[in-house]
Amino acid sequence: MIRVFGYLAWRSAHNRIARQLRHLRSPRYVAALVFGLAYLWFTFVAQRSGTSQHEVADGRWVELVGSIALLGTVAWSWIFGVERRVLKFTPAEVTFLFAAPVSRRGLIQFKLLHSQLFILFNALLWTLILSRERFGLSPWLRVVSIWVLLTTLSFHRLGASFVRTSLADHGRLGVRHRVVSLIVLGAVLIAWTWSIAEALPQLAESSGDSPFAFLPALGEAAARPLPTALTYPFRLMVRPLIASDVTDWLRALGPALVLMLVHYVWVVRSDTAFEETAAAVSLQRAQARSEGRGQAKDARSTGRITPPLLRLAPKGWPAGAIFWKNLVAVARTRQLRKVALTLLLGGALMAALSFQLEGGSLASIAGWLAISWAAATTLIGPQWVRNDLRGDLLKLDLLRSYPLRGWSVVSAEVAASTLVLTIIQFSLLLLGYLAFLGDQLMEPDLRQRTLLLLAAVIFLPAVNLLGMLIQNGTALLYPAWVRLGSGGPGGVEALGQNVLMMVVYVALLSVLLLLPLAIGGGAFLLLRGAIHEWAAVPATVLILGTMAFEAALLVDWLGRIFERTDPATVGIG
């Protein structure tokens, strides 16, 4: 049976790649490929000679940071994850495989096998991305190390989702079925909480000055016995990556492989009755998806449909309907009100704590976290928030039948995701601002922090708009090569692709920001002598004006592309 599954997985992958390559008949795709290859060559190959002079990265730090990051990822999948991505069956798989004389365990093994192609591809990408970092061994050994790490992580997430769903679906019966997993989880949670409580005063003390002082304190905290035990499995996963020679690598790979196999056994030998349930749920989901109703599941599962925050006025800008629709979708999928309430309460709590001597340290940790997240969302946000053309392009037929010009559709679509991302960033920044509100000793002082917040409020929407135009433009120009749909950017296994996309995105955004910053900066320097700091006002106006001009040009161009895009030719709709 494994040969049949192997044949299906291999032929599907082969044909999919062949189909993607057929798009190279279009000059647009050829240009993208040439640009991409040139970029990769320049970044990872041409500069390799220079990297030999880099100091070898300190393996201990890589191990520490890597293991803590993995611990966080795993914790996330236990606390928030409903991930069953690996077990999602396509309608064709449901039709042919579920009806075939194949055991449910066989089906699960098939999906695990199938996911390996994706993981291997991302392992290769990661190897390429990390090729300039000089820790570890040859690229080929690194591919194996990353593959083992990603596969273990993928199995773990799947196992976690089994336990979570078992508890949700079967209640007490689920607890009985999962008793070993739950005991292990309980012990880990207790150890985790204990470790954090023990390390918190030291971490909080170190975070007062700057976020960089936090790292050595983190290293000290992690060196204690309990955190060392807690992060031990994750260190095992990271160690093959930082081995200094082949012998060292082989020694590190053994435990990592054992860990991977233990996870495999955990997932595949899970309770058969539960696997039946999981497979049945996959079947329902696949059927639902084939009928185009899969994504409404989240909203349905809440049992009550969230009323839209804004009512759609019957009259007005016609494309405003698209803008409204995309905001409604976010409100119904991301549980916007709960998030808003949490941020509101969190903000109030942070502000109150910031005036307390004992709570101030805790507030400052939360503050730095919020600010770091806000900064990170400027880069990863446009990939993550997708309530725009990327979500709607699968319904291109429908969009094209509306009596709207292309620029109108593009601007409405992009405005929705820009607004959502901007609200997220503003909330995080406000949280950070409130967390340091009572801190009289902090540099920059309160006035400067207020000005920085104001600058963020002024510039972030424009930066986000350009960022969203880049992301939507990529989807519109290369619909066959870009993942369409409103779902998130994939799990940890897809991180390699996402990092690569982010690097390209940052490069394009930098190019777009160059002109506005040059004009605004030039104006500021020219006028500063005459009107002093007030020169910032015309400079700001010029920067925003240039960004608006660029955005208008992009919207117009993308609108024309939208009008020329033939759903049948590009393979969607």
């Binding site: 994504q295 019957p314 009596p403 033939d566 049948a568």
Partner: protein
Amino acid sequence: MIEVEGLHKLYGEFPAVQGLSFQVGPGEVLGLVGPNGAGKTTTIRSLAGIIIPSSGRIRVAGHDLALDPVAAKAQLAFIPDEPHLFDYLTVEEHLRFIGRLYGVPDVSARIPVLLEEMDLRDKRGALPGELSRGMKQKLAIACGLLHEPKVLLLDEPLTGLDPVGIRRMKATIIRRAAGGSAVILSSHLLHLVEEICTRLLVLQYGRVVAFGTMAEIIASRPGLRTRSLEDVFLALIGQDEAAGA
């Protein structure tokens, strides 16, 4: 109401539609029939402005679809065989969404009437995920009818409907045509075509094989006079032996 002149659509070297010309006036129901791959869906999607013809001209209610697409599209409705709905809009919100897009002035008054006509009154607050295949199709049809289009393009409109739904749908099409809309209907259901279409356009390999009323088509081929529509259709596409079998 809708005029098509010399419509060609090429996919690379492959001609999906070749030199199609016809007109459909107010009150007419044109049945677009042909075997799989004949070019029916390509034709209907070209008329809806979804795909761009390689050459030819399409005018909808006097507006050239290529030169003034917004005005032309405002006068037509396209209802595909597979209903495309937005996962997170309820039934009523779909209609309000369409009302805003098409600038329907009295949308609040029209919604209850359409929901009643489509038997969706009890589902007005439901998301598409809570609807059956047939109900989704009805919602897609209701969205198409909301702005009272002058041209109605239907691609396999009865797919997924139950017998009651089929009867209602046929009545709806006839009522719209009687109200002055031009209807173009693509279907493999020959009895539906025979029942409600005033004229037929038979396509094969992207070319017109026959065009006219049933009487006109049969008159041009005297050998088909006593035969059923199915036999006529098979004979027109050169599958006489299948008709004999």
